[in-house]
């Protein structure tokens, strides 16, 4: 079959639309906030050889590549010849897929008559999988919950009731955990329906030639983008708070003609606690970073991974050996793109991001519904500020590198007896710069009941701030504290009295370029909007601004602020 460029374009777009349809179905049928609100997921379509052809538009890089690798493991365990229509495969093995037992990968073969013509898979984060509540506290993966080996979720259309019974008995949120598994099966079926329709419509017997063409083009485009870079080796290192001690992530990026080698030798060794990263996940975020840096518009699939070679020493924090504890692996994995961008900065001037909040903040809240013994458990994502770009400020409260979304206060309060008292932009949290880092946010929660309640805050960057680029200043580190208990420990379960007010303040992003290069008028606009305080304007930017309104007035308009040009010139020496 010969695919002309126009047909290829049409079919390729159709496949993407099918994958997006799959993702929409997943979110609309899901039960947990993690999937239905925060999109901690990936969806993709695969050819008959298990190669990923396309993925849905949003979601998380941490799930995409591991899902692609996972598909191959699933098919090795259940060879296509043994599969029947209505079969759905599943596993949450951290080393085979996405690096923690909370992430279920679900794969469905697409039958056209008796023949398998492709697969749909998705990977998403389950509300609970038993064991310890998600934290970094475990020493071994066995403490982190139920591990489901590669098995069938549905067998010829029938739910695997024995498996579901075991899962229900092991988790704190049986309805949500099992409800999401149904959603994962449903969305694959929706994808399959549309794929079959597409094949009928275009008279295709196989999508493999299409896959080959797309993958080959992606690979070629990626290689071309790499060839445009000068050969060389570039190193960088970043630090995470870690759990008991800080964790170093060291990276060397080697550009060699049309291949890129990303090596993490020199990073901290495997931790004794649950912040270890499996190789799949390391690969996911490293290859994501390369694609975002050099060829964001090239379709992401098997071909885009091929020129990117990722390695990390076995037994290191980025290639842990079983039975390492891995539950909080994202808190380390999300640092990888920032580390790689730091290394590539000299080669790609003006094209990358300054350091940002990096890990998405995830908190798991537990307690009982007031007046009952019925437990509640709710997972909430929050995002800090992105790093500034060479030509634009960093985005406020927008996740990077993960693509997860936050949870509306109204949804939080409907699903749990919690009250979110505020959720606002954190003034002065964006690193100063010619382009300012994105702002983090300030949030505060309390509990409506009269018993004890707890949170496990899977967060980072409370000690090591996001670094600026090219003279830009660091963003503000994150904050985690309670009114009655002071500063709290991240990555562990913390218990509260009924009246506690718990603050989670995700960090801001770093600035890009020297703050003195920012025009005083832009600093003024930031002060008017409350992104930057009058004090910080003078301290960080050498711009003196006066508020000319009265102290009592509630409405403070742009005309109530003026730049003191004389004082500003004196400070700036202009």
């Amino acid at each position: 079959m010969v695919l002309d460029p126009i047909t290829l374009e049409v079919l390729w777009n159709r496949l993407l639309s099918v994958a997006n349809e799959q993702q929409v179905a997943l979110m609309r049928t899901a039960f947990s906030t993690i999937v239905r609100e925060s999109q901690d997921l990936a969806c993709g379509v695969f050819d008959t050889r298990g190669q990923m052809i396309g993925q849905s538009l949003t979601g998380t890089p941490g799930h995409i590549n591991p899902m692609a690798t996972g598909a191959k493991h699933l098919l090795a365990a259940y060879p296509p010849a043994t599969l029947r229509p209505g079969d759905v495969l599943i596993t949450n093995d951290p080393w085979l897929t996405a690096g923690q037992v909370n992430d279920f990968t679900v794969l469905t073969p697409v039958f056209r008559g008796d023949t398998i013509v492709g697969y749909f898979a998705n990977c998403c984060h389950s509300a609970d999988i038993g064991g310890r509540v998600l934290s970094a506290e475990a020493h071994e993966v066995y403490e982190e919950g139920l591990r489901v080996p590669i098995t069938k979720l549905f067998d010829a259309g029938e739910p695997n009731h024995e498996l579901l019974k075991i899962i229900r008995a092991n988790v704190r949120t049986p309805d949500e955990t099992v409800g999401d598994l149904y959603a994962q099966a449903s969305c694959n079926a929706v994808g399959a329906r549309s794929l079959l329709q597409m094949m009928d419509e275009f008279g295709l017997d196989s999508i493999d030639p299409l896959a080959d063409a797309i993958i080959a083009r992606s690979e070629a485009a990626m290689r071309e983008a790499i060839r445009a870079l000068p050969n060389g080796r570039h190193e960088h290192e970043v630090w995470s708070d870690g759990f008991e001690e800080p964790i170093k992530i060291k990276v060397a990026v080697t550009i060699a003609d049309e291949d890129i080698y990303i090596d993490f030798a020199g990073s901290s060794p495997q931790s004794r606690r649950g912040i270890n990263v499996v190789m799949n996940y390391t690969h996911g975020y490293a290859s994501f970073a390369m694609k975002a840096a050099i060829s964001p518009d090239v379709p992401h699939n098997e071909g885009a991974f091929r020129p990117v070679h990722v390695s990390a020493p076995a037994g290191s924090i980025l290639n842990c050996r079983p039975p390492a504890a891995v539950a909080s692996r994202h808190l380390i994995g999300h640092f990888l793109p920032g580390a790689i961008f730091g290394a590539l900065a000299p080669v790609l001037p003006n094209r990358l991001l300054a350091g940002g909040a990096d890990p998405g903040w995830m908190s798991i809240w537990r307690g009982a519904w007031p007046g009952t013994e019925n437990p509640f458990m709710l997972t909430v994502f929050q995002l800090g500020g992105m790093g500034a770009r060479a030509i634009k400020d960093g985005l406020n409260t927008t996740g990077f590198p993960s693509g997860v979304a936050g949870v509306p206060a109204e949804v939080i309060e409907t699903l749990a007896p919690l009250i979110q008292h505020r959720r606002e932009l954190r003034t002065d949290s964006g690193g100063a710069g010619a382009q300012r880092g994105g702002l983090g946010q300030a949030t505060e929660l309390s509990y409506r009941g009269d018993g004890r309640w707890s949170v496990s805050a899977m967060i980072d960057r409370t000690r090591f701030a996001a670094q600026g680029f090219d003279g830009g200043q660091p963003g503000a580190p994150g904050g985690f504290y309670a009114n009655d208990l002071g500063t709290l420990a991240p990555k562990t379960v913390v218990w509260f009295a009924p009246g506690s007010r718990v603050h989670l303040d995700p960090p801001g992003g770093g600035g890009y370029g020297p703050p003195l290069a920012r025009e005083p008028e832009r600093v003024l606009a930031d002060v008017v909007s409350g992104y930057v305080s009058i004090e910080a304007a003078a301290r960080e930017y050498d711009v003196v601004i006066h508020y000319t309104g009265t102290p009592a007035q509630l409405v403070r308009l742009p005309e109530h602020y003026t730049i003191d040009w004389e004082a500003t010139s004196a400070l700036r020496g202009t």
């Binding site: 899901a30 239905r36 538009l57 309805d175 099966a185 840096a293 985005l395 406020n396 996740g399 008017v528």
Partner: protein
């Protein structure tokens, strides 16, 4: 003599105001088109209406109904020309509308931008008050604070306030009290409260929609009241109605209260017109392509219905990407609208590349060839230079076009900097505009999983038929269809929708544990409200039809699906049927059922509608002939690269082409308000409905 009665549809676009008058019963119709008058859009309506009434010999009092759509709301939002607006939010949540969803709408693009709220941060205020998820009050509303704030806002020149408090969709008391407090302190302040505009969970989207509503309200009200006055002065009888984004129509009072529902009302009418024509011509599946002076609108018509979405975005800031616009939660006909129209300005950019749009010359000053002061070359100027438009027959000859001016502008601004001929420059502008529109059409169709190869294109709007042939070719469409009166035919959409009102009541309960008495009361209330509104609008009681639906989901899910409900009193005996109806819809959407958990109802809905209007247009076929050669009124050179450039091309008089007439391109088919351009070799035929069909399959 039997009394005559007419229905009128009128659409205000960015460049032109279009009109149709249809006689009830006979289907005889009259159309009109004039330049939009942006400073007072109702002026253009009066002008085109008076002219058309006079031309057709109809008295204003014979008008029974006038249905209207306008781009006023969309433009006010995109151009940020609404009222100076403030937001009153629950203390701690004034940033909800800026923090948004916190995710990236494109994983790999590092230069994304987030949508910029209509209210800047310094006009967003934390108000002491708090309602919880179950509707109980944690902190009473500080009304004195609201009064003080409202007084200061009024003094600062703020004209509009959006109030969006958490959980107001469950308990609206605080929002209502805040509205009253603002009214006491600032009686002239416009206020929209979120529990009234869109009583649905998720504060970001609800707040964004509420802000949009009040932001445009003053403009919309001023305009509609002016229009009402004008129509009264003219002696126009009957009622004025507005088309909504959903394709329904509503009274002026409803439109003034919820102006955000008028977003995309003109384009919605276009989609309905395409649907109606498609049905009549035996094409339930169509790609509707509507190109006017300012924008092009593309919409998939699938199995005789346009697609409806529940949420959409206005003003996409970044590469038109989904996620970069302001979210608006309301039912809307799904379409893609891009900034390519006849008035789109062509320029050579800093990289030495030719760019077309998205900025438009609008109706003032308009393209260079309009001779109204425009100096930058536009798509229409290019079309004129290419010979596609007749300078002496634009708008039927009522507006002369300046060819020399258009040539000069293209020559100095495009051809000279690029070092090419004027013709090559004009062809380049034409091609790039086509490419934009073909890409948008492809994306829109594909995002919905539709194959543009299989959808005949239905082309209309003043500029649509000039460009449709090339775009349809680029998309691989099997056929092109251009209706008679293509330049104004979107107005038919206004007259093809029944008068309808949508009602929703949020009241949650599990199937099997429902208080049926309460459910029945809610449904009856909504039906009664619908009946009285429809009767007030002239629909007889017996002609009202009701459609009941419930939004249902498995307990624990976050999204619901819409399930039809039976008529009459509901009770436990209906449970198996309701469960079955839910499962049928769920399976249809999601292929397999969910886990074995109970099902709940979240919202109860009623749509009350008047009768479907009978709309059969009667074409007056004077001198029309199936012998196409007899309809040729001349020839002129027009540009076709296939035949080596300018080629002498026959001009057909559209009004003389009767059903059955056949001819082959290249051809120019002229009617007063638009021109169809057909490339060399393409076979054309007039069908029984007087549509011009172009076969592109061969």
């Amino acid at each position: 003599m039997q009394s005559r009665s007419y229905r009128v549809g009128v659409d205000i676009g960015g460049t032109f105001t279009d009109l149709i008058i249809v006689e009830e019963g006979s289907g005889a119709f009259t159309v009109g088109k004039v330049l939009t008058t942006p400073d007072d859009p109702s002026q253009a309506i009066e002008a085109v209406l008076s002219e058309a009434l006079a031309r057709a010999g109809i008295a204003p009092a014979e008008i029974a109904q006038l249905v209207h759509g306008t781009t006023l709301v969309t433009n006010a939002m995109i151009e940020r020309k609404g009222a100076r607006t403030a937001l009153l939010a629950t203390a701690g949540f004034r940033d909800a509308v800026e923090i948004g969803r916190e995710n990236r709408y494109d994983l790999y693009d590092l230069l994304l931008e987030n949508p910029r709220p209509l209210v800047p941060r310094y006009l967003r205020f934390d108000v002491p008050e708090r309602t919880l998820a179950d509707g109980t009050v944690l902190t009473a509303l500080d009304e004195q604070y609201v009064e003080r704030l409202a007084g200061e806002l009024a003094a600062a020149g703020v004209e509009a306030v959006a109030v969006a408090f958490l959980h107001s969709f469950t308990n609206p008391a605080h929002e209502q009290a805040a509205r009253a407090a603002v009214g006491r302190a600032a009686p002239n302040m416009r206020v929209s409260i979120s529990s009234d505009v869109v009583p649905e969970i998720r504060e970001f989207e609800r707040t964004s929609t509420t802000i949009a509503n009040v932001y445009v309200q003053a403009r919309v009200e001023r305009y509609l009241r002016e229009l009402e006055t004008r129509l009264q002065r003219m002696g126009v009888g009957g009622n004025l109605f507005l088309m909504l984004s959903s394709g329904g129509i509503a009274t002026v009072d409803t439109a003034v209260r919820y102006p955000v529902r008028l977003l995309e009302s003109g384009p919605a009418a276009g989609a309905l017109a395409a649907t109606a024509y498609g049905q009549a011509a035996g094409h339930p599946n169509l790609l509707s392509f509507d190109m006017g002076g300012t924008t092009a609108k593309i919409c998939v018509i699938d199995q005789g219905r346009p697609l409806i979405a529940h949420e959409f975005e206005v003003d996409r800031m970044y590469r038109f990407k989904k996620g970069s616009g302001l979210p608006i939660t309301l039912p809307v006909i799904e379409m893609i609208e891009i900034g390519t129209g006849g008035g789109s300005i062509a320029r050579v950019d800093a990289l030495g590349l030719l760019k077309v749009g998205p900025d438009s010359s609008g109706s003032v000053p308009g393209p260079v060839c309009y001779g109204r002061g425009g100096s930058e070359p536009t798509v229409t100027d290019a079309d004129l230079v290419l010979g596609y438009l007749d300078p002496a027959y634009f708008l039927g000859g009522r507006m002369a076009l300046d060819v020399a001016g258009a040539r000069l502008a293209i020559s100095t601004r495009i051809a000279a900097p690029l070092g090419i001929s004027v013709e090559a420059a004009a062809w380049g502008i034409h091609q790039i505009a086509n490419e934009h529109m073909a890409n948008a059409a492809r994306v829109h169709a594909l995002e919905r999983g539709k194959d543009p190869h299989r959808f005949p294109m239905f082309a209309f709007g003043g500029a649509g038929p000039v460009h449709a042939y090339r775009i349809a070719r680029a998309l691989g469409a099997p056929a092109l269809l251009a209706p008679l009166g293509a330049g104004v035919i979107s107005t038919v959409g206004f007259l093809s929708a029944p008068l309808a009102f949508d009602f929703v009541r949020s009241w949650r309960g599990q199937l099997g544990a429902l208080d049926w008495a309460h459910a029945n009361t809610l449904l009856r209330e909504m039906e009664a409200e619908g009946a009285s509104l429809l009767e007030a609008s002239g629909v007889t009681a017996g002609a009202v039809r009701y459609r009941r639906e419930a939004d249902m989901r498995y307990v624990g899910q976050g999204h619901q699906i819409r399930v039809p409900l039976p008529d009459g009193e509901l009770n436990d005996a209906h449970l198996p049927a309701l469960q079955a109806a839910f499962e049928a819809v769920y399976r249809e959407l999601y292929e397999r059922l969910g886990p074995p958990v109970p099902v709940e109802v979240i919202n109860w809905r009623v749509v009350a509608a008047g009768p479907e209007p009978e709309l059969q247009l009667a074409v007056r076929a004077e001198n029309a002939t199936a012998e196409a050669g007899d309809a040729v009124k001349g020839a002129r050179p027009a540009y076709f690269p296939e035949t080596g450039g300018f080629t002498s091309t026959p001009i057909y008089d559209r009004y003389r082409l009767a059903p059955g007439a056949q001819f082959t391109g290249p051809a120019i088919i002229e009617e007063r308000e638009s021109t169809v351009i057909v490339g060399p070799g393409a076979r054309c035929q007039i069908d029984a409905q007087w549509n011009l069909g172009v076969d592109l399959a061969s």
